[in-house]
Subunit: 209 residues, 2 copies
């Protein structure tokens, strides 16, 4: 067994980030400074260096996300897990918030009646609330399809999309829809993603504010 | 773009599991029937087939976990995210529960005073509650070190450990401690893991009950 190193609690994250940076450097990877903090935090959350190759950022998206948060945006998630992982205290300091409609009884009933997912309906409900809206999707591709359908029908357009659902059924396609949509977005191309990745991206954006 | 396939909401998970099984079969991987459901659910949650190679199960651990749940065990997590992802309704049907001490004010204060992590102290607090206890650790290696220290000092011994912290600092070592501990355990060897993996393992155990 490798020897253990005592690290003070406050230094564990710092030490982790140093290790990640060193390994990236050993691999010859240079991260774009604008996205470095987000990519490293995603690797920190997953211990998976594959994300270096698949994370996509539209031009100026990080700056835009921070502007929206300063305008008091609501960050809408598609799981309670992602919601639970987001730094809501920091968000509140900008009068911004994080919420999900996934557990709403009305959402569940409507989804059942229409034969669509809760995630689909929860996006429609979220679209109706006032103010700026960032959609942080870490689980359900149908959440992204729902947003895209509202865009196509000119009913609604999200201010920014973090699209990192994970999985095997229509996940890749749901993300590809946003790559050239014109909507500011952070997308993880391919199958990987998840609620922890979603929360890590939001928290990295907040950390830099 | 690949063509989209409409899948009824209730069939998405089933379809995903079929795809995972097909790809595992194409890779020539045969999963042990006893652990198949858990391994597939972890892949479903991460889209990462690496877990096939790193998930470790002590003999009879799945059976043991189900017995403990039937005896009304408490599942202790080291994050609110993992707690949020666990099927608490199903747990409640066995008079079992899931809880975390991570956000307790007393835990935070004691951790600060002693210069250890919240996770470390939260394990000590959890050890004092009555009844059977399953520890489901998806984030903090220090949670596993805390449990191990209590075992070494003969203060406390967990009934079962799900040890899947993720990260770069002392994570691998924290897991190795449990491999030959004699404690029934499910461990993901290496750096990978996380709150979603932790919740997926608990939910797979519950699904089979």
């Amino acid at each position: 067994m490798e020897e253990l190193e005592y690290i003070a609690p406050g230094d564990i994250e710092k030490k982790s980030f140093e290790i990640i940076k060193k390994e990236l450097s050993d691999m010859g990877v240079e991260l774009p400074p604008e996205y470095e903090d987000i990519i490293i935090r995603v690797i920190h959350t997953t211990a998976d260096f594959d994300f270096v190759k698949t994370l996509y950022f539209s031009d100026g998206v990080v700056q835009k996300a921070r502007e929206l948060i300063k305008e008091g945006a609501a960050i809408i998630t598609d799981t309670k897990m992602a919601l639970s992982g987001i730094n809501k205290k920091k968000l509140a300091s900008f009068n911004a918030s994080a919420l999900t409609f996934m557990s709403d009884e009305a959402v569940g009933e409507e989804a059942k009646a229409r034969g669509v997912t809760r995630a689909w309906v929860s996006m429609e409900h979220a679209a109706r609330i006032s103010g700026k809206k960032i959609f942080a999707i870490g689980n359900a591709p149908t959440a992204l399809f729902s947003l895209h359908e509202m865009m196509e029908k000119n009913i609604f357009s999200p201010d920014l999309v973090i699209g990192v659902p994970v999985g095997f059924v229509n996940v890749v396609q749901s993300k590809e829809l946003f790559l050239s949509s014109g909507i500011p977005c952070i997308i993880n191309k391919g199958r990987k993603g998840g609620s922890t990745v979603c929360a890590a991206i939001v928290n990295a954006i907040l950390k830099g504010m």
